[in-house]
């Protein structure tokens, strides 16, 4: 069990700046995110795309923005709990007990939900049968590649994950790569390698096809694939792998008793608190009259929510508004000598 002042759900720009604002106030935060890296949508969806509306930064990529936000919170030695999703949020006394899907438990007076648009999960095959065979023949990630040795495997997708695994698994297995169109969007090196493997008769490529049906009772025996004209092909296979990128789900957040407006959490624009005392929401996931979905707005929301957290986490201390230019306390917290 980890005790802290504030548990932050999400590790995107809103969360990172909130860590800084909390840190300046002397509050310690722990950060949990379902992704395997810090940065949220900036790192996952548009690392290379330039952003033009961060104040005083005329142009920077999502990746650079995150790098700088991480640098800005270095003095606070924040713990990041990645690859972990917050599943439960329960009130215990005057604190919140937060449990992750890996059964890690946090106790904190305050929670800031900076979950963006929800959690990223692998996009799945639209077929009902695919659900039935999930983890028993149908997979969306590979934990142990030995599991796939000497098998017949169909890999679906056109990006680098699909290409990487086609190349890798074709070393020890028979791989059929299926994609909805004839162009692959992976790196040119991967595309060249896959085409060479096809020429050498090592990989079979089927385009433009999509999964149409799965045959088999307890285990998969074969699949059929279909093109836009309705032509159907049958392929004998043991396993099916789908690499269609990530999909965004609100996930367990919907079950925490918070007031929601579609996929967003209602907050008061005064302190960004939800209908539950001590639970705040900032960034893309929160909504209030006048809400704008901008990174800029999330910074403002985090700064104000941090002050709300201070009142709850330090009930016996008086909040003082201080400036980073002059405050000796803040300079100490930042590890800066001058004051």
């Amino acid at each position: 069990m980890i005790s802290t002042d504030v548990l932050i759900v999400g590790a995107g720009p809103a969360a990172l700046f909130a860590v800084q604002q909390l840190g300046l106030l002397g509050l310690k935060a722990e950060v949990v995110d379902n992704l395997d890296k810090v940065g949220g949508q900036c790192s996952e969806l548009y690392p290379d795309k330039p952003i033009y509306d961060i104040p005083a930064i005329p142009e920077c990529t999502g990746e650079t923005l995150i790098k700088n936000l991480i640098k800005q919170i270095e003095p606070f030695n924040t713990n990041f709990h990645l690859n972990e999703r917050v599943d439960q949020l329960v009130k215990e006394g005057n604190k919140w007990k937060i449990t992750t899907n890996r059964k890690k438990v946090f106790i904190a007076p305050c929670v800031i939900i900076a979950g963006g648009v929800g959690s990223f999960e692998p996009r799945k095959f639209p077929l009902k049968e695919a659900e039935k065979f999930e983890d028993n023949g149908v997979f969306y990630s590979i934990r142990d590649k030995k599991y796939f040795d000497n098998k017949k495997i169909c890999i679906f997708g056109g990006g680098d994950s699909a290409l990487d695994w086609s190349i890798e698994l074709s070393k020890n297995s028979k791989v059929v790569l299926v994609h909805r169109r004839s162009e692959f969007r992976g790196t040119s090196k991967n595309v060249e390698t896959v085409n060479k493997l096809k020429k050498d008769g090592i990989i079979q490529i089927e385009t433009p096809y999509q999964l149409n049906s799965i045959e088999g009772d307890n285990k998969i025996k074969a699949i059929t694939i279909k093109d836009d004209e309705g032509n159907i092909k049958k392929i004998d296979t043991d396993y099916i792998l789908g690499f269609f990128g990530l999909v965004i789900k609100l996930g367990p957040i919907a079950e925490w008793g918070l007031n929601l407006d579609k996929k967003h959490i209602n907050v008061s624009a005064e302190n960004f608190q939800t209908n539950k005392e001590g639970v705040f929401a900032i960034g893309d996931i929160c909504t209030y009259p006048g809400k704008i979905k901008l990174i800029l707005s999330s910074f403002h929301e985090g700064a104000i929510a941090a002050r709300g957290c201070f009142e709850l986490a330090r009930p016996n201390e008086k909040y003082r508004h201080e400036f980073t230019t002059t405050s000796k306390t803040i300079h100490e917290r930042l590890g800066k000598k001058r004051s």
Binding site: L45, K49, G158, H179, R181, R185, V247
Partner: protein, 106 residues
């Protein structure tokens, strides 16, 4: 201004007028038309505003820009009439556009 017909997968029709320079996605969101999620808010990062364009209209639209086809790989059940509605900008030429939404977006 263009009159756009959005058809849900249940065949329920929504006919609305959308001002020029807005996207087809925004036309749906602002009119509370279900079936277009637009999780990323139009930054072409999520493929949850995926629609099927009516056959007669598909070739009349501006061609897909860089990245749209890649993002459509991520869409739910794409076909050759698939587009991302955030990339379709309303103009008078689109008056009468008909499109269908998939049964779900994710």
């Amino acid at each position: 201004m263009a009159k756009i017909t959005y058809i849900e997968h249940t065949n329920k029709k929504h006919i609305v007028e959308v001002p020029n320079n807005m996207s087809v996605m925004e036309g749906a969101i602002q009119n509370n038309i279900p079936g277009i999620d637009a999780d990323c808010g139009g930054s072409m990062a999520c493929a949850t505003c995926h629609v099927y364009i009516d056959k007669k209209w598909f070739d009349k639209l501006k061609k897909k820009g860089e990245g749209e086809e890649d993002m459509l790989d991520m869409a739910y059940q794409p076909n050759k009439f698939s587009r991302l509605s955030c990339q379709l900008i309303i103009s008078n030429e689109l008056d009468g556009l008909i499109l269908r939404m998939p049964s779900k977006q994710g």
